[in-house]
Amino acid sequence: MKTARKKRLILIGLMVTGVAAAVAFGLQAFNQNLMFFYSPSEVVAGDAPADTAFRVGGLVTNGSVARQSDGLTVQFDVTDNAEAITVQYTGILPDLFREGQGIVAHGKLRDDGMFVANEVLAKHDENYMAPEVAASLKQAHDTGVGKGMGTP
């Protein structure tokens, strides 16, 4: 009886250790894989990290999409209607990418302020806007209105 209990304790001990190790490893990896979202205003204000990847989102400024001579590299401006940053991307853009459309780009900020994206997402539903983009547009709009009321 006693040995059976001892064995069960060993089994439980092993399982707990294993689970704890897995959780510790998983959480550590989790922290390294978080990608934060910044609006163009926040990027211009210098809030975004310089050397880690993050996401930026907003509307593609009308008339800003320019194709490089190699045909696959594209530059465009992304704005929250307050500030704008330029995004560079090499590759095929998603189907729903177009001027005036809300997009989210994943990538890093270059020293000259250009955001080099490795992925550009446009949502599959034309009425749908990524919540982050909608929120940052609203925020920029609200602060814009506030300024307008203060100056006259």
């Binding site: 294993g18 990896a29 989790f30 894989n33 996401r55 034309e126």
Partner: protein, 664 residues
């Protein structure tokens, strides 16, 4: 008129559900056979009314009745008939109607196939399903009525999202819902057992085939979704760790654990409380999935409904279901007697390991899915959890899981002699290590991940083959067929096929992630490009017209050794109503590799941006999924779950209850 009838049928179904949730349950407690007997006709009544309601909505789509708001938003006169039908569940309201229809279908199945259940058990199971039905019917009627009218009546409808105008996606939601809702049967069995306070191997035997069928549907649904994403989204991915995919994957992981744990409960009477808890978790995660998809709280391509009232309703329902069932569990579980004991080295231990790993994986997927919500709610910033993290988590647990999966079936129940196990495992171990090393060497593939994956797959294969050889040693010819057809041993063959499916899946996943080639290039008509021994010739793009879309129809010819092996037609479609462009990939499918071409955008002068892919072994992913489903089906068809066999089981099962009741 028909839409009103449809809505009226929904109201009637809700009334029946209210009666079904209350009276059979009371009847089962104070032992009133006439009240208990209400459950079956009520279930049938709900099914009939919901079928009528569903038929009414389908009729509205087929007749282009744009006076119904939902039809006006998602139907269109030019839509081909198949997609008019699939448009019924193409968006929020209709898909919920399908949800409750399927729920009533499961109720009817339980009511008519489980006649041999003790009447109080059947009454309780159906009462719990009635409660779930109340929740979803009131959600449908009060927040998302599919029959709402629209005035003035538009001449033409909006349109079904073009992405959904596809056969794979027309059948993907029903399959997935069959699985989601099917888990409610396992849930209801668990709740009924908790109410009755009786839990024995007979319970596991009743619950197991239902759980297996639900799990099979879930597997098929997820496999279909993955296949659809691959050929339809146009960038060759087959899994994105998208919140909505995770929402279907978490119930699958828990259901997989449940299927294994039920085996232990049925065969050995052990793990009873754990099995019940898994059944509760499985359906709770299905509901959580519904909440995540339907409330639009997450950044996701699938979020087509953004309405806080709906989100709040499901959230409250979710809390009620999870909270209620956990309280019931905390109250009743201590009375469940522990089952058969087992030693450290036994099949039970391996199955426990399997369950533990599956649940940890589920917990991590849950963390990654909910973390963005949590961070946002706490004001810690807006985050997304990277694809690599999910993959890393999976890669961390999979190898251990596969090692267990190979050894488990070779081990005896209760107690295993370590030496005998080592003897039988040594040959498979040697073969798989050798195979893994060969593949990992520079003259193989040079990739350690590929080596590991091949090693693990070979480990699974060799242990399974070894097990088969042992089984066939004393059987031959007719007795072998009898063994497959007979009861009791079919589950072994089912396990065999499903585990082979896992081996196939691992090979597919690893090879496609390690060795796929992707190239974005600019091509002029007539230009060629070489990749992996294939020559791609771009023959230009022509404008054409389809039934409800215009298309840029590209032609790419693929040559191997100067022989033409495929003509691919990637397209860029623009649907006439929703003017979104959509990519249709051109795919040459093969057992060992796919060639995949999609059109980017026109770059002027007939030039196009093209995306070329070489995808080795990608079909094996879905082949694996099919084999797993096939295994599940075979297990569920085991004759030992047929009613006659269960009826015999029922007699000895009743005695202990009566004894227990006399005791109290």
């Amino acid at each position: 008129m028909t839409p009103e009838l449809g809505q009226f049928a929904l109201v009637l179904a809700l009334c029946l559900a209210l009666v079904q949730a209350v009276f059979p349950l009371i009847g089962s407690i104070n032992r009133t056979p006439s009240w208990m007997a209400l459950a079956q006709p009520l279930a049938w009544g709900q099914f009939v009314f919901l079928s009528l309601s569903f038929a009414a909505l389908t009729y509205a789509f087929l007749t282009d009745d744009f006076s119904v708001l939902y039809v006006a938003q998602h139907g269109n006169t030019q839509l081909p008939i198949v997609y008019k039908i699939s448009a019924v569940w193409g968006a929020h309201e209709g898909s919920l109607l399908l949800w409750v229809l399927i729920l009533s279908g499961w109720m009817v199945a339980v009511a008519s196939l489980a006649r041999n259940l003790p009447p109080e058990m059947l009454a309780r199971v159906l009462a719990v399903m009635g409660m779930i039905s109340i929740g979803f019917l009131s959600f449908l009627l009060f927040t998302s009525n599919p029959f709402e009218r629209l005035f003035p009546i538009p001449m033409e409808g909006g349109e079904l999202n073009p992405l959904l105008q596809d056969f794979g996606l027309a059948i993907h939601p029903p399959m997935l819902y069959m699985g989601y809702v099917g888990l409610s049967v396992a849930f209801s069995f668990a709740i009924a057992a908790l109410i009755g306070g009786k839990m024995d191997t007979a319970w596991a035997r009743w619950s197991r085939p239902w759980t297996l069928i639900a799990w099979v549907f879930l597997t098929i649904g997820i496999t279909l979704g993955s296949w659809w994403a691959y050929y339809e989204l146009g960038w060759g991915g087959w899994w994105f760790w998208d919140p909505v995919e995770n929402a279907s994957f978490m119930p699958w992981l828990v259901a997989t654990a449940l299927v294994h744990s039920l085996a232990v409960t049925e065969k050995r009477g052990a793990f009873k409380r754990w099995t019940v808890l898994l059944a509760l978790m499985g359906f709770s995660l299905s509901l959580l999935g519904t909440f995540l998809v339907r409330s639009g709280v997450l950044t996701s391509v699938h979020a087509f409904a953004t309405d806080p009232a709906r989100g709040l309703f499901i959230l409250m329902f979710l809390c009620l279901v999870i909270g209620g069932s956990l309280v019931l569990y905390a109250w009743r579980a201590p009375s469940i007697t522990p089952g058969g004991g087992f030693n450290m080295l036994s099949r039970e231990t391996f199955l426990l390991g399997n369950n533990l790993l599956l649940i940890i994986t589920t917990a991590f997927v849950l963390l990654g899915t909910l973390a963005p919500l949590l961070y946002d709610a706490m004001g810690w910033g807006k985050i997304s959890v990277g694809f690599p993290w999910f993959t890393a988590m999976f890669v961390m647990f999979m190898p251990l899981m596969v090692v267990i999966m190979g050894a488990g079936p070779m081990t005896r129940w209760k107690n295993q002699d370590p030496k005998a196990l080592l003897r039988s495992l040594s040959l498979p171990f040697a073969i798989s290590v050798a195979a893994g090393l060969l593949v990992a060497m520079p003259f193989g593939t040079g990739s350690w991940s590929a080596g590991l994956a091949v090693g693990l797959s070979i480990w699974l294969l060799t242990t399974l083959l070894y097990g088969a050889r042992k089984r066939f040693q004393n059987r031959s010819g007719i007795s072998l067929i009898k063994d497959i057809a007979g009861r009791g041993s079919r589950s072994w063959y089912a396990m065999w096929i499903a585990h082979i499916g896992i081996a196939v899946f691992i090979i597919g996943v690893t090879f496609v992630t390690q060795f796929d080639i992707e190239k974005d290039i600019r091509m002029s008509p007539g230009q060629t490009y070489e990749m992996e021994g294939y020559t791609f010739r771009f023959d230009g793009v022509k404008a054409q017209t389809g039934p409800n879309y215009r298309t840029q129809f590209g032609t790419v010819r693929v040559f191997q050794d100067d022989r033409e092996i495929a003509v691919l037609n990637p397209e860029k479609r623009t649907y006439t109503v929703q003017t979104n462009p959509m990519t249709e990939a051109g795919i040459d499918a093969g057992f060992l590799r796919d060639i995949y071409v999609s059109l980017g955008e026109p770059l002027g002068g007939g030039d196009w941006a093209l995306r070329l892919y070489y995808k080795p072994f990608v079909r094996w992913i879905w082949l694996g999924g099919l084999l797993i489903s096939l295994g599940g089906l075979l297990a569920a068809s085991d004759p030992r779950y047929r009613s006659k066999v269960l009826a015999r089981l029922r007699k000895p099962a009743i005695q202990p209850t009566l004894a227990a009741e006399n005791h109290s």
